[in-house]
């Protein structure tokens, strides 16, 4: 029984990581209807940026994250401003093709710069620290921080969207880009800011990705897949839904692994398919689409 409770706890905590992967994707799709196929590779890129800063300056990875965040914001802003804004229009194919190409470029660029070796972000004593829950149960501090960070990121984004003028501009652009312009909203700037913001969230996701397991330039597409599944399970446009989606995949994976270690990944995908069959619009779809 303890084994099952532990499995569920670990699944929920793992869901925090998948939610962090997914929030950036959800943000971008929600605001500009852009499906960013390079999202997984951008998470890996962010992990390398944190790695380089932490190694070069001899900093703790959390401090390195604080320094990496503005750099990644800038990368996201520039990417949208100079490249992706040009692909947006009525045709959905150009952004798909361009972000697919970007995914290949980022992967190969990272391979060229850092080789195919596996890396890790070193969180020192935190990596092994755990909190005893009693009854032989314990949770790792890092997995717990991952889930807490996911919840905090979603709280912060919801605060931005529902309380601040910039957030209203994001929502207005998402609702009706033409009319948003008549409110003085410069859509292209809003899109660039959104991509910058998504990259900051990506950096947070990358920190936990890099401390949980090793990473190398090729692992991006699989992260994209988990992110996609979490977004779609949750229902497009709802960040809390995205968190729920992440938790469902996390739970399915740990439960699958508990039954048979080979089933871990498969169980996550099966859970996704089941939700898709039962609730094609996801668990928490937006009322207005």
């Amino acid at each position: 029984m303890i084994g099952w409770i532990d499995t569920v706890i670990q699944g929920v905590l793992l869901g925090g990581l998948y939610a962090l992967f997914a929030v950036g994707l959800s943000l971008i799709f929600g605001i500009m209807r852009l499906v960013n196929l390079a999202h997984g590779d951008l998470i890996v890129l962010a992990a390398f940026v944190i790695l380089v800063i932490s190694r070069a300056l001899g900093l703790n990875i959390f401090v390195a994250l604080v320094l990496a965040a503005p750099i990644l914001f800038g990368i996201g802003y520039a990417l949208q401003h100079f490249l992706l804004n040009r692909t947006l229009g009525r045709d959905i194919l150009p952004p798909l093709l361009v972000t697919f190409g970007l995914s290949i470029i980022v992967q190969n660029g990272l391979l060229e710069a850092f080789s195919a070796d596996s890396r890790r972000l070193d969180a020192d004593a935190l990596e092994t620290a755990s909190i005893a829950l009693g009854g032989g149960l314990a949770v790792g501090v890092m997995p717990l921080m991952t889930l807490v960070s996911a919840v905090a990121v979603i709280f912060a984004l919801n605060y931005l969207f529902y309380r601040l003028p910039l957030g209203r501009a994001f929502r207005a652009t998402s609702d009706d880009p033409e009319i948003a312009q008549l409110m003085g909203v410069d859509n292209r700037r809003i899109f660039a800011l959104a991509m910058g913001l998504a990259m900051v969230v990506t950096a947070i996701a990358a920190l936990y990705l890099g401390t949980r397991a090793t990473f190398d330039p090729s692992i991006g597409p699989a992260r994209l897949l988990y992110a996609f599944e979490a977004v779609i399970i949750g229902g497009l446009g709802s960040l809390w839904g995205t968190l729920a989606g992440g938790v469902i995949i996390g739970l399915a994976q740990t439960i699958g692994a508990h039954i048979n270690p080979e089933w871990q990944i498969l169980a996550g995908h099966v859970a996704f398919l089941v939700v898709l069959v039962l609730r094609p619009r996801g668990l928490f779809p937006r009322a207005v689409d």
Binding site: D175, I179, M183, N187
Partner: protein
């Protein structure tokens, strides 16, 4: 010098020409109505002024400066605000949020604030926390007008504000226009409802198939003239 002027304004939808050299003037403090049948080019004309169609720099002038090639957000920041056809409120937002987004690009001191909008349309105060999708057509139109006023515009463009509304609601909405005008805002109305338009306008332009077929002071125009200009001879 007119506050807002179009000079030989043309507009195209791909190969289809919707406007053929439109010359119009709106003086400061004036209310001008654009009337005409469906498809005459009235809404296209407003879209061209707001920058949504992207045109020649010197086809639209505002306060003595050419604005025809500016982006919609830049034009709004200068003080030209629009109530779009069909209201087009932001569906994910409440009434209050729809009003608040109205001055996102232009926040200047002036008569209009959220409180002033609630005084103009008291029903909106009761509905302020409701989703804009739950409002009646009239309330939606009031919100759309309020949203456009929030930026204290110098020119308010209104596209078919009576469309699809009950006569009693149309009356309420048109009663607000003189109060808007009294704050110094110039108004450009596009209307199919000739009667309403003639009541409030200082001057009218009648559009027919993308051209101006008649212009003048409503009191000086005869029914016959308007009929011919509206429907063709």
């Amino acid at each position: 010098m007119a506050l807002l002027e179009t000079r030989k304004l043309t507009a195209f939808y791909r190969d289809f020409q919707a406007l053929f050299g439109i010359d119009t003037r709106l003086e400061a403090g004036e209310t001008v109505a654009i009337i005409g049948a469906n498809g005459a080019g009235k809404s296209t004309y407003l879209k061209a002024i707001t920058g949504l169609l992207g045109g020649e720099p010197e086809s639209v002038w505002f306060d003595g400066k050419p604005i025809g090639a500016l982006a919609p957000a830049e034009i709004m920041q200068l003080g030209i605000s629009m109530v779009p056809e069909g209201r087009r409120l932001f569906p994910s937002m409440t009434v209050e949020e729809n009003l608040l987004i109205g001055n996102y690009g232009r926040s200047v001191p002036g008569h209009w604030s959220i409180e002033a909008i609630f005084e103009l349309f008291p029903r909106l105060r009761e509905r302020r926390h409701q989703s804009s999708t739950t409002l009646s057509g009239g309330e939606q139109q009031m919100t759309a007008i309020g949203r456009a006023l929030m930026s204290n515009p110098r020119v308010l463009l209104c596209d078919e504000i009576s469309l699809g509304l009950a006569p009693i609601v149309i009356r309420d909405i048109y009663q607000a226009l003189p109060r808007i005008k009294a704050t110094g805002t110039s108004v450009m109305l596009v209307e199919q409802d000739i009667v309403q338009a003639m009541k409030v306008a200082d001057r009218i332009y009648c559009f027919q198939e993308g051209r101006i077929s008649l212009t003048g002071n409503p009191s000086a125009l005869t029914r016959e003239q308007i009929h011919v200009a509206y429907f063709g001879s």
